[in-house]
Amino acid sequence: MKIRRELWFGFSLMALILLTIVIFMPWSNMSSGHLGLLMLALIVVGIMLGFPTAFTLMGMGVFFAWLAYRSVNPDLAMRQVLDLFVQRSYGVMSNDVLIAVPLFVFMGYLVERAALIDKLFRALHLATARVPGSLAVATIVTCAIFATATGIVGAVVTLMGLLAFPAMLKAGYNVKVSAGAVTAGGCLGILIPPSVLLIVYGATAGVSVVQLYAGAFFPGIMLAGLYLAYVIVLAKWRPELMPPLPEEQRHVPLPAVAQRLSQRGKHALAGLFSAVRSSPPDVSKRTVLGQLFVSLTPLFAVVALLGMMWHLATVPVIEVNTAGLGLTTGSSADTKDEASTGLEAPPAESGGLSEPPAESTATPSSGVAEPPKEEAKPEAAAPPVTSTPAGSKATAGAPVAESKAPDATVAAVAPARLPTPDWLWITLCISVVVLGIVYFLWTWERLEVFKMLLTSFFPLALLILAVLGSIVFGLATPTEAAAVGAFGGFLLAIAYRFIEHWRSVPKGKPKSAAIGSSIKELGSILKDSSFLTAKTSAMVCWLFIGSAIFSAAFALLGGQELVEKWVLSLDMTPIQFMILAQFIIFILGWPLEWTEIIVIFMPIFIPLLPHFNIDPLFFGLLVALNLQTAFLSPPVAMAAFYLKGVAPPHVTLNQIFAGMMPFMAIQVIALVLLYVFPGIGLWLPHTLYK
């Protein structure tokens, strides 16, 4: 009988584990702790046999828990096991951390089915056309944004394999590099919050999900940045792997109006202003004003942001103590940090922004950039009030402050706003310079690209930032943010599906047909998403039920103590322990999936951390980064198989694996970087919560 190579690998691994048990178990004097270790080894073998993990854990947990109780009191054993099991299960059912899992999963499916990824990729492709390796860069950025919003690795890799992979092959990109970019990019979603992985870790390790989200944000960005840097450097260094795009692929088609107006000059802003004064006969004033408004949205956004920051930074002290905590601590740090603390303000304001897409559906008028435009309006209206200098400010501030602080003495002090801090002026200067450069380069082509980004990139980015911002800044619990995010995702789906149906109605037919067909499609989107959510959450949460009884049995048998004693007897330094732990997780990532690794093995590692003075939060960030490799490491590299499923037949699995290797190396580098500079992950949670 011919046995496949993969089978050999699996069988030899299994044999190795069993052999280790047989050799190292002190068979003559087994303590119950040894039974615990035996159980642990058996579970690895059991999982590898391919039976649904949740039930393997359940069966083994029940059996070994019974063994543990029996050694104490055989009469009561059965009863005790049953009580323990049902209480543990009920604990999972009423877990207030895991409740966020189905909600985030639901949000992901809804966003995925809003079908905006092709728009997103096209817009980013044009936006990055001049960067070396532009298609790979666009792929990674698209993946990072889309995967973050959806968190579904399989769907993202498949979609990018259908969209970006062909585009890259057509442009003459190397097969391996293209495959690597798609697969590595698609996996970013499980690291960059809001991700389900971090919730599962938080629930297992008892670490605050809020802090995990705050902590994983920068490492996630860093990993994406490293991917991008690698791709760009590679494209510069060996252009034959990623040839620059031909002119026709970089070309941005201009609409008629823009073509007409661009005859007057290349600069869009100047052209629009002159057109407002004297529009050409065949161009309506309304279109020109619309275009002008779109062009000015960055300005409005910046003004709104600065106004918001100014408001937060200068509200009277009573307010600052409660609401603006992050900002006041920021003002004592050095200027660079201050600028960035300030820049994190947007989420606070974008908390309300998940709502506006609703407006766009309520008033579905013609424009391409309609939804974001509506968004900008309420904000743009707000800042002039807050940022009008001196006189009006004092009067406007007074009633607010008084109503909030009825106490007479405080009210006397309150109306006076704090002096504007220096960092705000610096931010203002920087934004003015940046806006200046942006508007200097504002050609017609760029206006078109910006419009495309406005309809694809920004709504998604806003949704993510709103969800993340409201969690990190403590405006909402992860559960609430997830629910509102799911709601926002649904609104996003409504908006995109409706616009598409509206446009696809042939000319001359009544537009009302679009409403019926989009409601029908939305119904099926909602149905599919709910069913898939039910399946995914059942999968994750039943795994938790299994592991609840399993880890209880492990603790009852005293396996934990034995492991602890053994690890302490090795007399390792914290660094050695950390490297060992990460190495074990890395190795486990080859045969197992991330859910199993976290749910089964984290309960063993976590109790060891205090002995080495390691922050479980920091450990979690390292684990999350480390588990990225689990997706890319053969033989269970899910990402590779999803890509293979939609790749042209001559692309082999080996090519895909080879393409993933450099990205896996980057993941390891990122892991080392995070370990050497823990500040990358810990700075934000420490600034915000300590």
Partner: protein
Amino acid sequence: MQKLLLTIDKISTFIGHTFSWFIVALTLLISWEVFSRYALDNPHAWAFDVMIMFYGTLFMMAGAYTLSVNGHVRGDVLYGFFRPRTQAILDLTLYILFFIPGVVALVWAGYYYAADSWRINEHSNITAEGPPIYPFKTIIPMAGGILLIQGIVEIIRCIICIKEGEWPSRTADVQEVDVDKLKEMVHVKDEDIQQLDKFVIQQEHGK
């Protein structure tokens, strides 16, 4: 026989589908609660309990459904490479060894747990006037029972597979990664992918 199996599949799926609408309810409930708290300044004390109950009911009742569509995560190192008959033998052994004792224990324990809760008319103690919690605890034996029935169906499937050498069919259900649907979504056709092959071949020859 096959008909009976598919019928039970359908029942599990129907229950799963019905309860999966809880996610929509949960989303709306929490969104409303957030709105009500921040905008209307009117938080509800029962909201937290109800959220937890929705979530718990959702995933517990979807357990059998997930099993019926083979959706529980498996360690797929070796399993995928086995022939169907080997898969079935392994599954059958492990269903009897792990699944049946585990789930029977859950149903058994859950029954007494829920019965106790009914007897003392238990109410949630998270807030002062908490809602009754016994219906929620009843979910445990119910979900376990359906799961057990579905498990027996899976065992029969294994036996059929051992006899016939291939897996009996299942009813189709929504897939997480439904390649055809995704292709349609981004307007890619199979021919397009076929045509791409020439670029790959070209590259191979170029080297």
